[in-house]
């Protein structure tokens, strides 16, 4: 099972919506995963297989997480989120 992080500035609004999009897209792909939504500073100390966040926050995170960071422009766009998941999966093959 993969562990994903959905990250926004505060960990309560946008990241929650992103978590729902990731869960939907993952379900469609039959990916077994656990998604946690969090704010930027907590994300820095949390282990995960992949991190999904905005371009701006992703740039801030890149130096402080070992996990690959996938920038998402529209947190509610299931297709965009799905593409990012596909990119992640292609690194696992």
């Amino acid at each position: 099972m993969y562990k994903f992080l959905a990250v926004c500035g505060f960990g309560v609004g946008s990241s929650m919506v992103l978590k729902m999009s990731i869960e939907k897209a993952a379900k469609e792909r039959g990916i077994d995963c656990e998604v946690e939504n969090t704010d930027l500073s907590s994300a820095k100390g949390t282990d995960a297989d992949a991190v999904f966040t905005s371009q701006e926050l992703g740039d801030e995170l890149k130096g402080s997480t070992k996990a690959p960071v996938y920038p998402i422009q529209r947190y509610m766009d299931k297709e965009e989120v799905g593409k990012a998941l596909d990119d992640f999966l292609s690194t696992k093959e």
């Binding site: 926004c8 500035g9 505060f10 960990g11 309560v12 609004g13 946008s14 929650m16 919506v17 729902m20 999009s21 939907k24 930027l40 966040t53 905005s54 371009q55 701006e56 926050l57 529209r74 947190y75 509610m76 766009d77 299931k78």
Partner: protein
């Protein structure tokens, strides 16, 4: 759940606003008037866009302004502003602003998940974009 927050007194429609800062301020006003949030929360929502970028634009034409849970927030609340003319939010056109005020990480989740379900439905999202508050209220009622 959602209809408990979005009712006649927390939903507004306007033809246009001058800029996105004004849009957030106008959208949040009902919550300010009801004492749900303080002035500092409105400033924090605007500062967040300046600092963290426009990720609150969750899909084309829709933004979810919010800031730190429990800071300048007295209780859970949501308020809606629909615009006839889209306003630019750092390179994104936005017609619908939904202000979210959270007190902690969980109390608002039911309502937020309803919002998410509603907006991910293309037909329903189209109705929301049209900005007719009466029709939006009907959608919210149906969702319950």
């Amino acid at each position: 759940m959602l209809k408990q927050y979005l009712s006649e007194d927390t939903m507004q429609h306007k033809t246009s606003v001058d800029n996105w800062e004004e849009a957030i301020t106008v959208a949040a006003r009902p919550l300010l008037n009801k004492g749900v949030i303080d002035d500092s929360y409105v400033e924090a929502m605007i500062d967040s866009v300046e600092k963290n970028g426009p990720y609150i634009v969750l899909k084309d034409y829709f933004a979810l302004p919010h800031a730190q849970a429990g800071t300048g927030v007295n209780e859970v609340g949501m308020s809606l502003l629909t615009l006839e003319e889209p306003v630019d939010l750092k390179g994104n056109e936005v017609k619908v602003f939904l202000v979210l005020a959270a007190v902690d990480a969980s109390a608002h989740l039911g309502a937020l998940s309803e919002v998410s379900e509603l907006l991910m439905d293309d037909e329903k999202f189209e109705i929301v974009l049209q900005g007719d508050l009466e029709k939006i209220r009907q959608l919210i009622e149906e969702g319950n």
